[in-house]
């Protein structure tokens, strides 16, 4: 592999990793509060459509990102109202929200662009090379000549780490996810914390969806989230619920996906299904090797107050 190949590979890795990183870091915050939102896929696809519609309406990709965030929050709000508000089972609720996200985005898309769809051309979020940094050999263009949403991911990783482990709100959030009864006994408003954490996760998933539509594909297609919401949930665990590690895990996953395309283009003669399985096999290997022992927040997925 030449140096140019390597640089292109690294660029593709980051491109593919960023939407996962955004969605997974948001989900990490949600899960730290004891809520597993497997409706993330719903927020993601809603964000893609919301982003597309807002970008078209305002003629600006930046407005599209905000629209994506709003749509992601909307999907997360439905989830939070049921799973946190009513205390319904989080997994089933998430399933419903994912179905709803895929269904309603399709319905809105068809209502807006006709039953047979159209190849939408959207205003794109162009790469924004950071002067100086983008010229660093090897990694410079991969890391610092990306869409602004990538920089958002880089900034969020340390910021969310600081929030979680160095602020009182972060402490409350973690306590709520570990033992909501104890957190409540200490005076923490458990439900409020969980709703906010879920909405934050929805916003980031929405931005991830908008990134897919506006920074990556330049269009919207039904189901274009293609299961990334579920991958993001695996990435959260791979990153041990710790935002900087989650970012790294997402980039690792992005790299594994990029490698799959690179190897196919190079013409390595293996069944392509093997390439497609590669990112998952690599993640499994990483878990079996050095990433091992993970511990989820103790109250993850448990409705609160406890039923009984």
């Amino acid at each position: 592999m030449s140096e140019a190949d390597l640089v292109l590979f690294l660029e593709a890795s980051v491109r593919l990793g960023v939407p996962l990183a955004l969605a997974a870091m948001g989900e990490a915050i949600t899960e730290r509060s004891g809520v597993i939102n497997i409706g993330l896929e719903g927020s993601l696809i809603a964000g893609a459509l919301g982003g597309a519609l807002a970008a078209l309406a305002f003629g600006s990709a930046e407005a599209g990102v905000l629209g994506g965030a709003a749509a992601g929050v909307l999907a997360a709000l439905v989830f939070a109202a049921f799973a946190v508000g009513l205390g319904t089972d989080q997994i089933i609720t998430g399933t419903a929200v994912t179905l709803g996200g895929l269904g309603f985005t399709g319905a809105v898309y068809q209502a807006r662009f006709g039953a047979t769809g159209t190849a939408l051309t959207l205003p794109t979020l162009a790469p924004l090379p950071i002067p100086g940094l983008a010229d660093i050999p090897w990694l410079g263009s991969a890391l610092f000549a990306q869409a602004p949403t990538a920089y958002l991911a880089y900034l969020l990783a340390p910021a969310l780490w600081y929030f979680l482990f160095r602020t009182e709100w972060g402490l409350e959030l973690r306590a709520v996810g570990e033992n909501p009864d104890a957190a409540q006994a200490a005076g923490v408003r458990v439900r409020r914390v969980r709703v906010l954490a879920t909405l934050f996760g929805g916003a980031l998933a929405g931005i991830a969806g908008a990134h897919l539509a506006l920074a990556h594909a330049g269009t919207f297609a039904e189901n274009m989230s293609a299961g990334r919401g579920f991958i993001a949930i695996a990435v959260v665990a791979l990153g041990r619920w710790n935002p900087p590690l989650v970012l790294l895990a997402a980039l690792l996953f992005g790299a594994a996906s990029a490698l799959q395309f690179l190897l196919q283009a190079v013409g390595v003669d293996l069944p392509y299904q093997l390439f497609l399985a590669f990112p998952y096999l690599l993640t499994l290997a990483a878990l079996a090797g050095w990433l091992g022992r993970t511990r989820a927040p103790a109250a993850l997925a448990l409705p609160w107050p406890r039923r009984g």
Binding site: F165, R166, T167, E168, G170, L171, E172, R174, A175, E178, N179, D181, A182, A183, Q184, A185, A186, G187, V188, R189, R295, P297, A298, G308
Partner: protein
């Protein structure tokens, strides 16, 4: 007249068909230490939970500072100056002690490090003053029950409540710690705060309280000044007039147990070593033997390897080095009944089945004989006076003392060769404590009976019941010579060890 800080009147609280409180009253005055007494299941925790904002009453009123209030969360209660120390700990196991202490304070919004610095200095000062010592930077999950109890108390005190409510805070504390806690409570009262305290040991209550309230079956049956009650009248109020003559009450001053003949050896450790959950050495080369028909007492400040020693003897842990010989018929009363002793979602029958499922008489290899297990469960319920609608009641719905009765009763069923008991009477009311003590002495009366290892932080209990006493300190055991088998002698040895550790 002194001010009334809080008043609960005519409080009714139901859990399904169970009426935990059936019209209870409690009045808390400025500057007093107010003890609440009652049998297991009398409703003490429920009443305190209502004052602490955890539970809402079905009927009745709560007044604070003379105004009726609705406390819909512990946060509400905190905001009104009511701080509650729970019977079942409300700590976040995965967080450090310091983080648990800092949680929810919001005294200095913003950076945690600043909050932590404040909490650390406040906590250090408080630990010095109270003698309640805990390491601040370890995770709560690695603490012993006694240490968790200290964290709970420290947390409540750090928030500087006007009304401090403590639900059985002394059950897991060593005698010296109890003494300094009581001194602190008296100081707090002297500052004009109020302290509400649940305890089962009459002598403790008499030592610290200004007033006492007795609950019986969900109703307040007595509220008196300390001066107008004595041990006998309190016990009478607790167990109910007619029954009082029939129950025996254990009180510490009793003479140490006479040594009895030791039967055949049933269990032995030889130079056993074992690490604790966090990888530190817990038991560091212990050799001991237990004979049939004896009670072997193990005294010591907890955190000195009790946990690992108990697990080794109960066959729940294999030594890293050295050897352990453990018989089949082992009963084990673990220190933490809620986490290790029973399953809250399981009903009484299923909780009893936890100990019986491996027993050939109740099913053996594949099928379980539920009919027979139910019979045993019901026997335990009746024999140990468990207050519950029936054996289909969930373990988690029992009061703390009734959970303990369940565990003790169940383990006595299976302890045909050996019983390992960590603080077996923790949380039991006066009559249940006496009953369990009687049981322990009785099963060991014959030289063919099981051997009992009694690991307790309550030195009086160890001295009163044991045929032999060992002191566990820094993971090693020391035999007590016959001559120094006194409260003072053993206490010195315990603390000596503890000091050396600290």
């Amino acid at each position: 007249m002194t001010r009334v800080l809080a008043r609960l009147s005519g409080v009714v609280r139901r859990f399904g068909s169970v009426e935990a409180l059936a019209g209870a009253d409690l009045e808390v005055l400025e500057g007093e230490v107010h003890a609440v007494l009652g049998e297991n299941g009398a409703g003490k925790t429920t009443l305190l939970g209502i004052l602490g904002g955890i539970l809402r009453p079905n009927e009745g009123t709560v007044e604070i500072d003379g105004t009726p209030v609705t406390l819909s969360s512990p946060g509400d209660a905190w905001a009104r100056g009511v701080g509650l120390v729970h019977q079942h700990f409300m700590l976040v196991p995965a967080l450090s002690v310091l983080e648990n202490l800092a949680l929810g304070r919001r005294s200095t919004p913003g950076r945690l490090s600043r909050t932590h610095a404040h909490v650390r200095s406040d906590a250090s000062r408080l630990m010095e003053r109270t003698g309640l010592d805990v390491p601040l930077d370890v995770r709560v999950e690695s603490l012993s029950v006694g240490q968790k109890q200290r964290v709970e108390i420290l947390r409540a005190l750090l928030r500087d409540p006007r009304i401090l409510v403590l639900d059985e805070p002394t059950a897991a504390l060593a005698p010296a710690e109890v003494a300094s806690l009581f001194a602190l409570l008296r100081d707090l009262a002297a500052e004009g705060r109020a302290v509400v305290l649940v305890a089962h040991k009459i002598d403790e209550v008499l030592a610290v309280a200004d007033r006492v309230t007795v609950l019986r079956r969900g109703r307040t049956t007595l509220t008196e000044l300390r001066a107008s009650v004595d041990a006998t009248s309190l016990v009478r109020a607790i167990v109910g007039g007619e029954a009082a003559d029939r129950v025996s009450v254990w009180s510490p001053g009793q003479a140490t147990a006479p040594r009895r003949a030791r039967g055949q050896e049933v269990a032995a450790l030889v130079d056993a070593r074992a690490r604790d959950a966090s990888g530190r050495v817990g038991v560091d080369g212990v050799s001991l033997a237990v004979g049939r028909g004896e009670i072997l007492g193990i005294a010591g400040v907890d955190g000195n390897g009790q946990r690992e020693l108990a697990l080794l003897l109960a066959g729940r842990l294999t030594p890293d080095t050295g050897s352990a010989r453990i018989p089949d018929g082992v009963g084990f009363i673990p220190q933490d009944r809620t986490l290790e002793g029973l399953i809250g979602e399981f009903d009484l029958t299923e909780n009893v089945a936890l100990a019986l499922h491996a027993d050939a008489r109740f099913g053996g290899r594949s099928l379980l004989r539920w009919r027979d297990i139910r019979t045993e469960a019901d026997r335990v319920r009746v024999r140990f006076g468990i207050v519950a609608p029936g054996i289909d009641t969930r373990g988690g719905a029992l009061s703390g003392g009734n959970q303990q009765r369940l565990v003790v009763g169940r383990e006595l069923l299976v302890a045909t060769d050996l019983l390992v008991a960590e603080n077996p009477t923790r949380g039991l009311d006066v009559s249940a404590t006496a009953f369990v003590h009687g049981e322990l002495r009785q099963v060991t009366d014959a030289v063919t009976g099981p051997g009992v290892v009694l690991i307790s932080s309550d030195l009086d209990e160890v001295l009163a019941l044991s045929d032999r006493v060992l002191v566990l300190s820094r993971g090693r055991v020391h035999e007590i010579a016959e001559g120094v088998r006194t409260r003072e002698g053993v206490g010195a040895l315990m603390l000596g060890g503890a000091d050396a550790v600290a």
